[in-house]
Symmetry: C2
Subunit: 514 residues, 2 copies
Amino acid sequence: MSAAVFALNPSSLTRPCLSSRILSIFSSYHSTSVFAMAGESKSKSGGGKKKEVKKETGLGLTNKKDDNFGEWYSEVVVNADMIEYYDISGCYILRPWTMSIWEAMQEFFDAEIKKMKIKNCYFPLFVSPGVLQKEKDHIEGFAPEVAWVTKSGESDLEVPIAIRPTSETVMYPYYSKWIRGHRDLPLKLNQWCNVVRWEFSNPTPFIRSREFLWQEGHTAFATQEEADAEVLAILELYRQIYEDYLAVPVIKGKKSEMEKFAGGYYTTSVEAFIPHTGRGVQGATSHCLGQNFAKMFEITYENDKGEKAMVWQNSWAYSTRTIGVMVMTHGDDKGLVLPPKVAAVQVIVIPVPFKDADTIGIFDACASTVKLLSEAGIRAEADLRDNYSPGWKYSHWEMKGVPLRLEIGPKDLANSQVRAVRRDNSAKKDLPMTNLVDQVKELLNTIQKNLFDLAKQKRDECEVEKDVKARTKGEMGAAKTLCSPFDQPEMEDGTLCFASGKPAKKWTYWGRSY
Amino acid sequence: MSAAVFALNPSSLTRPCLSSRILSIFSSYHSTSVFAMAGESKSKSGGGKKKEVKKETGLGLTNKKDDNFGEWYSEVVVNADMIEYYDISGCYILRPWTMSIWEAMQEFFDAEIKKMKIKNCYFPLFVSPGVLQKEKDHIEGFAPEVAWVTKSGESDLEVPIAIRPTSETVMYPYYSKWIRGHRDLPLKLNQWCNVVRWEFSNPTPFIRSREFLWQEGHTAFATQEEADAEVLAILELYRQIYEDYLAVPVIKGKKSEMEKFAGGYYTTSVEAFIPHTGRGVQGATSHCLGQNFAKMFEITYENDKGEKAMVWQNSWAYSTRTIGVMVMTHGDDKGLVLPPKVAAVQVIVIPVPFKDADTIGIFDACASTVKLLSEAGIRAEADLRDNYSPGWKYSHWEMKGVPLRLEIGPKDLANSQVRAVRRDNSAKKDLPMTNLVDQVKELLNTIQKNLFDLAKQKRDECEVEKDVKARTKGEMGAAKTLCSPFDQPEMEDGTLCFASGKPAKKWTYWGRSY
């Protein structure tokens, strides 16, 4: 494990929309290219069958999480059948094992925003250059990463057309059209879609890819109060996605002026922390755009006094990056570890026949156990393949991160029990068949909770360094502020900023980030 | 109404995968440009506020369905808040009123294919040119419509990259990698995504757009029998989407060699028919690709005898086009007509206060009615806005196609009843508040059924012409085969093909199609 450092430091940096103090995380890690993505170039052919032999003979990972985090990560996402590398760099295939995690989060989040009267829509993938460039700060932030369509078939297009990197400029001309009176407010839309950011630095599955899936919410209000309240309500949903679904602890807070959304007013985020690299990772962002876009796109309305007024806007998004953060947080040297709430398969049932045992009876017991659990709403499957040994199956489903394994052998059959093995800590326990459903449900809840607790403990254990300044001097250029947490620790009067030496105003997290 | 002709004709055309006979639909319609899309150029500005006055003063449509179908259609989709024209031609904004229809179908279809063990995945938007061009017939079919990305930021890409028009060539190199033994089969994947086909002919909202949403299923089997069976199972789901959800009657059948999917083996489809234009419209397609792509992409497996064998593949898709067919089928001169099963709002409750009446009591009754219906799983809303008259509200919700309106006035309040008005036929009925939920449910079922029956009756009423040959001679170039229906009428021996004069083999539908 790299020597990750987690530090709490005072700072004098001013933050326009948050009061006082700064809290800092610092990392002393050395690798300049943690994510070398060894797998990337190897599988360029796409159609090759290179990994066959390895896959069928050796199930384990060749890299260890503590020794070689980057290689470990890219090996896990491939070997757990989450990702397939694609023949265009920075693009990845999301396999079903990934999509079911995405869908579990989507089902939760979509229902929650519908309760908030936010409605789904779908705006085009393409943006015309004039509209894209309307908000200067915004386009400056995105311009280098915009992909341009210039041809269709053999013909050049009259005007090149951009592919959305995000949809503010796609949508807001129509907000201007649709919003006229105060009765048209609030306007609250969301879309589930793909966006493209043609980045050239270290592509990493889920974490940094040229195309990714996300939801983007875009709302307009009459007052700042309403906008502010929604920013926090959405941020809370993002916290729930991370903590309650992915079992990843996050810190809610506000971004600095430098790190806020291009063209926005202020940005809040949930920030996760990867102890193995000492890096923070931005989990999801909820922006208040203020009235800046309203000015550029003329999104005005007649208020109840008959006066023309500008709307207050928010935009907010979470992406498939969430899944990468989850893999990094829980995965181990056996492979992926899935929190039960997002696992496509929560329970894998494996027959353990012996030579003279009642093989048919064992297989039947496996099938009926799956039926019993499935009917109770538990996502259970049996691996009844006859060409793999039980041991091979254990490793296979451990690699794929299934939270709970149930083994059924002759002794279990005789004793009307199953042997349960937890993925998170390898703990074994015999469960009597009576009341199996309740016991399995309880175990799944325990695993979900334990994964979160363990991740939180690991994060918090990272050694607190008081004199980060001296230790990180040479690396300052690469570190940046992550967020100023809403939960501010106390600060004694006279505390000085660790960086400037001036009186500190608040605590802020600092670190290198993905 | 244009003189649509619906005809049954024998033909000698051979179809490789279907036996005997041909059945023909012919239309004698005259317009060469039914879909001039008058609205298209007018709203190019995107952010303009041009239609305001009209929208607020005159709620009705300026075009009639019978007189001017194309203009009527583009007016309906805009005025019902389904579509907003976008500043890039052929791209449209799908508003929430549209998305809820799409989501209702998606919820059904996604659950059904999951029962069939088909799993969701997500492949990249981009295709490299080498892979795209691997299957020659396939790329010939799509090449003229492919959009190419050639730049990112200010830099030219080394190699232009295509945007998927469909994902056969995106996916199949990886099918080749993933499929090795017979135990890897069947491989059954689906994705919900956007695709781009840069067509230049008559863009039409939903029906023909440059970007659209769809699902695309891609499956691989060991045997043709399994592939054949799935083609029909999926086609049946498409029929259910059209007939059970959208209340649009369709004909299941097989495409001719000329009209089949580029590079495929055979194509089945559900075909709808728009009486007002006399045009058929391809509703959705379920293709058997045979072993053609398997050959090109080397998708082989070792069968249980240890021999190398090629897989059999299918691909199948339905798109947002479904929604356009629904609008064309049910819409009338008051606007959209939504089948209850896909309506975002199934019941709109409108207070009808009078000067001296108990206004608060009426508004409360509306709110509690909505609560009652909502708790019973009915999608109900009340329009309690105080700045619009009841009459304005009636027109507004009729334009948006809400299936059932409940009016509550002083008399209704006094008599413990509501007045129900059906959108499909304007029939009115007083419903006692006792047992309201059951009555509303029954009415919604009746409306759903009536919409389908009426559409089927209109389609079937189209006059059967025996001597289409003479009447359509001049237009033959534009007509094409739609499909050979699986339900073949009887054909007497010696029947001759209407076109060639040779002995007929089977019946086929012919017509001009969108």
